[in-house]
Amino acid sequence: MHIVALAVVVPMIGAAVLVGIRLWSPRLLNDLIAGGVALAVVTLCAILLARSAHHPFAYWMGGWRPNDAVAIGISFSVDQLGAGMATLAAVLVAAALIYSWRYFDGADGLFHALMLLFMAAMAGFCLTGDLFNMLVFFELMGAVAYALTAYRIEERGPLQGAINFAISNSVGAYAIFTGIALLYARTGALNMAQIGHALDGHPADPLVIVAMSLLFIGFLTKAAAVPVHFWLADAHAVAPTPVCVLFSGVMAELGLYAVARLYFTIFAGALGPHAEQLQAILVALGTVTAIWGGVMCYAQRHLKRLLAFSTISHIGVFLCGIGLLSPRGLAGVATWVAGHGLNKAALFMLVGVLLHRFGTVDEFELHGRGREIRVAGVLFGIGGLLLSAVPGVTSFFGKSLLDSAALEAHDPWLPAVFVISSILTGGAVLRVTGRVFMGWGASEREEDVQVAGAAREGDEETTRRDHTPPLMLAVPAVLLVGSIVLGLIGGVVPGIERAAAHFHDHAAYARWVLRGQPAHFVPVATSHVEAFDYLYAAGATVGALALAALTLFGYRLLPRTPSAVLGPPRTALAALRRLHSGHIGDYIAWWTAGAAALGGASLVLLR
């Protein structure tokens, strides 16, 4: 049980040691220390995952146990979903570090130290039971992320991306601070279980509602939901590939984890009577994000921005799932997040392979050149199919759980949103596979000449190479296998469903954190995959393939299509793209609008 703290402290110590010795230590030593620590943390988190399966437990730092159900110290409240997210984070950091053995000319151990700190922050964020402690780790995650985004200081893009990232996320963090202040004033507590306990039984008044909307908008900024998502594409376009792996694979999802955790530990009691209205707000936000992200994804030619927008689209889907506020919805999101994290990490690594080999990430410049590395092409295609949640893989099981949850909540149109997102994001990756690795489709697009400049600009290196180290292909291959197989391992999906049901149980959480009473959970019936789930998923995959094929081979039809058909979508798309201007002032204006909208909608609907 004491290993709970070790999961956070060991990488911190590793980072401090790496910095202390960095001026003398050779690259190999840095790699070994960082890799070793990362693997150790993966083991620790996996142990926590196993231990917390039936007995979630609270570990009080400094031995300050609650005094009469008043929490004094900081607790790490470890339940299975939290430990699971921590394990996913640790696995991806380890994979990124191993991948960068060959990929990166790491700057004197600074990179390794920052990655270990990132890992410590994510582990702490997932495991903590104290609201302010969560914010501290949120800020640590953020600070390290800003530094890692700006890694390639020789170029202009990373600097701008890091500035936009830092200012956007900091504003979000200040909203969270204000929300914490409000809750502290009302309840006199910082421990999440205790705040929830104190708010229970009282009707939700404006203070609680505003606190909730401030906390949510802050964490949703990290999660990149529309309209606070603008920073994510910028940051992804310029951050080094191993860092993008982490941003898309797990960091953005942690924002959603926080929203879910906060709701079920703090607000579920007070806002229970208004659950339906809250569902409406969250699902609406999620739907807009999913569609916006999907459309922007398909319109990209810069491969990293393409993957970034596909992450935004998936975040929208996940937000819908959480917004359903049901155990099945949570289970679906958790399963899909696991599959998506591994999948997206592998895709970014493969884009890194292309960058390493050819010096560009522009889809049209890479036209046909991927034929030299067939293996990468095969993996990329598999990744695209996984994005569309082809039947049988982990994401598919998550999707089927989400579809069932949506139908339970009487939102039969919601699975259609999931399908659209799958088609757009999977289709985009499949289209790239065709164009880059098979040489299909047009090789230049007339009107996008200035976008080509942008794609060339934030590139990591501009040298060409003749040889791709096998390690750079092996790591994504392993991750893809994991993404396919995880859902098929017996007991994993039912385990996730059980964990989600525990997560959902607001009253039980207060009991096992504050009073140390072992939790008794009602056994959960596992869901079965229905026939229509296979139908939807197969439809999504077929749709993605069709869309990719249409784009690749149908360009010859373009001049013959009447402009009345093509015109409106083109202007709409152009308008949408202009919004992503790179100007921080615009982003913050949208942030304020989002905060006002969320707060206003909550105040109006949740009374």
């Binding site: 600097l159 500035i163 921005r305």
Partner: protein, 114 residues
Amino acid sequence: MSFLPFAVAAWLFLAGLYGIVSSRSLIRAILSLTVVQSATYVVLLGVGYSKGGQAPIFADIPQTSKAVDPVVQVLVLTDVVIEATVTAMLLALAVQAHKRFGSLDPQDLRALQD
């Protein structure tokens, strides 16, 4: 009177946001971010105040005397450290941005657009 600190905090938050949105210089935008953070300090410290309370230092006052809330002070301390460090990083980025772009105007940062 009793709502004044919190009104000030709300005003600071909005003024800081306005500063970031309308800045023609990165330095001014970064400092406006600091203003937004000051809003959180004011709220936190305002929340913890008790009329007639002493500082929570019991070196020369009896232990049972009325004292203000020490927890918010710790929260603000953490807040200050976070702000200082993030501001330092942002200013470093501004220094490099000035070297690369030749300008600190966000309008001139055109390396990333769709």
